[in-house]
Amino acid sequence: MAAAGGTGTKTYSFKVVLLGEGCVGKTSLVLRYCENKFNDKHITTLQASFLTKKLNITGKRVNLAIWDTAGQERFHALGPIYYRDSNGAILVYDITDEDSFQKVKNWVKELRKMLGNEICLCIVGNKIDLDKDRHVSVEEAESYAESVGAKHYHTSAKLNKGIEELFLDLCKRMMETAQAEERLKGNGASQSASSRRGVQIVDDEPQATPAGGCCSSG
């Protein structure tokens, strides 16, 4: 699902899921990024659960779709439905809340188990404006991130710190992953066939055969 478009002007479409406990500031984070507003009564969007952003990174067009997920514990089991087919995941915790960091660790384990290394992970410590109440140490968080192959960021939606960098970095990494995948697969057809949802079939060849049978014209 990584790329769509002709060979000349390639447009990447990425799906990014936002995971994290409730109240860690997932919504504020995306609203700051997409609307550049924080706790504002003039926020135009009706909702902050699905937001899109168009980017241009080194001449390549990128359509970013950011999927917010329900963070309550009782919805934890629904995670796989949300993060299926996603290219990136942003795992948010509150630096003043040790529990929320624990949740992030659980998410990382689950994502790596379900999606392997195809998904780009970002671990985000939010609310750095409340540094005096910090309960998760910078060293611990960063070393953990490194150990699981994720990047770590410090952000503040309130002060608008670190958010642009976070999304820009993530996009670049997702583009690299997509390009590597393309090179691996060789041609464009099978690459787009891999984007097919629902029943995932690893081998692309058997799919091509019935397609010829169905649609070849007389």
């Binding site: 002007t9 919504t27 329900a70």
Partner: protein
């Protein structure tokens, strides 16, 4: 007589020369042995019938022609070799009329010997006509067996493709071939059918992509139309197919939602305040939209219903909380809406969309997000237990078995009409209706009583009047007095008529 015929040398019986109607005039072989007058009468009648029949036939042909033309438009121009689509040409109608004319002529020839009566009997005429109809019935267009809706979609599709000209024909050809192909694969499982459709989408999208040179907007526009066309056609055979257990799942989900009727908005922690009129309006609209999903045929239209439903939920949350809704707010609200709506054939619809929707829409788009949330809501409802509602297992069990109702324990403020009747809004409504009914019935009883007393009054009234009248008559018996003329009247006695009319007078000056 025989001498006369011999003398003339013509071996014709005299009776044969007379008009067959027996009017006494001579008949003519050219007029079926009738005299000119009788022939004109009969001919006129037959002709009238003939004209009507021809009209009916011509109209029918024209309709067929249009339908077939609409559906085979692209294919016909493109490939003459394609056997699946027999050719139709505009001359078809006139050809039919011509063959009829021929048939009429032969009929006339053979009927020279038969009686006039037989000539008019319907049996001799109908069979050949039927044949011509039947010969035409297995028309190439399968749309003839489909509903009005399908025809409408086909027409729109053709209209849309006309703008694309040559590639449009190619697209149409492929779609038709694909539908033909699919209709012959009825025995495939749902997943295999889905594979076929998805492969078709993929192929079509790839071809369009190379045709439009990477303009994904144009590709999407065409793909939407393609999806609409083929899925409207295939809907009946691939929606909730018998090979799957979709229907069983539908019923299970429906039962499950019914069993969870007691779940309150507070248990789900939904941030919607239904006390606010706008919010409750949005809730009703959201419920309507999600129920409407089942009535749509095209996966994209079904997704549209889900999206509209979601937008109403967002608006309700926005009004309640005065801030944009996050997923934390949205998902519980959607679950609440699904529980309230209990949409028909929910599982079948979800499966249908998953199997046959154009994947590019379902994966990254906004519609896809809402659809995913709906899937989450359904998954949550299926697995819902005491913990997920913050209840103790015993409480949950009691609510599920219907032994208790949570609203009895809820705080007074939540349910203004608290008390036993407020246990469930439906129950409250029911009680309210019962009260009204009993009120109405007591009123009706009162009305009946009043009517009866009025009837009694009416019955006794003529008697009373009669009595009064006879009483008065007895009291004042009729006396006839001699006529006396008063003095004043006497003065005017001679001018019996009305007073003289005023006449206009002309005054000089």
């Amino acid at each position: 007589m025989s001498q006369r015929t011999e003398r003339r040398g013509i071996h014709v019986d005299q009776s044969d020369l007379l008009c067959k109607k027996g009017c006494g005039y001579y008949g003519n072989a050219a007029w079926q042995g009738l005299c000119s007058k009788c022939w004109r009468e009969e001919y006129q009648r037959v002709r009238q019938k003939q004209i009507q029949d021809d009209w009916a036939l011509a109209e029918k042909l024209q309709r067929e022609e249009e339908a077939a033309y609409a559906s085979s438009h692209g294919a016909q121009a493109q490939s003459h070799s394609q056997t699946a689509v027999p050719q139709l040409h505009p001359g078809h109608a006139s050809l039919g009329a011509f063959s009829k004319f021929e048939e009429k002529k032969t009929n006339e020839k053979t009927r020279k010997v038969t009686t006039v009566k037989k000539f008019f009997s319907p049996s001799s005429r109908t069979p050949p006509k039927k044949d011509t109809q039947e010969g035409r019935t297995p028309s190439p267009s399968i749309s003839r067996h489909a509903s009005f809706e399908t025809d409408q979609v086909s027409k729109e599709f053709v209209e849309f493709l006309k703008n694309l000209q040559k590639p449009g024909r190619e697209i149409h050809k492929q779609c038709r071939a694909f539908i033909m192909n699919m209709s012959s694969k009825k025995e495939l499982s749902a997943d295999e059918l889905s594979e076929c459709v998805q492969d078709f989408y993929q192929n079509m999208a790839d071809r369009l992509m190379s045709h439009f040179k990477g303009s994904s907007e144009s590709v999407e526009r065409v793909m939407d139309q393609v999806e609409k066309y083929i899925m409207t056609r295939l809907y009946k055979s691939v929606f909730c197919p018998e090979s799957t257990d979709d229907e069983r799942k539908d019923l299970a989900t429906q039962k499950r939602i019914r069993a969870l009727h007691w779940v309150t908005i507070q248990m789900l922690c939904v941030s919607m305040d239904e006390e606010i009129p706008e919010v409750s309006e949005d809730v009703v609209k959201a419920i309507t939209d999600i129920i409407e999903m089942d009535s749509k045929r095209v996966p994209r239209d079904k997704l549209g219903c889900i999206t509209r439903c979601s937008k109403h939920i967002f608006s309700a949350i926005r009004i309640t909380r005065n801030e944009p809704a996050s997923a934390d707010d949205f998902l519980p609200a959607l679950i609440y809406i699904v529980l309230k709506a209990n949409p028909p054939r929910l599982q079948s619809n979800i499966q249908y969309i998953t199997r046959f929707c154009n994947p590019s829409r379902l994966m990254t788009g906004e519609d896809g997000y809402y659809f995913t949330n709906l899937c989450c809501a359904v998954a949550f409802i299926e697995k819902l237990d005491a913990q997920s509602l913050n209840l103790s297992p015993e409480e949950f069990q009691r609510y599920m078995s219907g032994q208790a109702s949570p609203r009895l324990h809820s705080s007074e403020g939540d349910w203004p009409q608290s008390g036993v009747t407020a246990a469930n809004p439906v129950l409250a409504q029911l009680n309210h209706n019962l009260e009204r009914l009993s009120l109405v019935s007591s009123r009706q009883q009162m009305l009946m009583e009043a009517a009866q007393s009025m009837q009694a009054d009416l019955l006794s009234w003529p008697e009373g009047v009669q009595r009064e009248v006879s009483g008065v008559l007895e009291k004042y018996p009729l006396q006839i007095l001699p006529r006396t003329v008063s003095a004043m009247d006497a003065n005017n006695a001679d001018s019996d008529g009305p007073p003289p009319l005023l006449t206009a007078q002309v005054f000089a000056g």
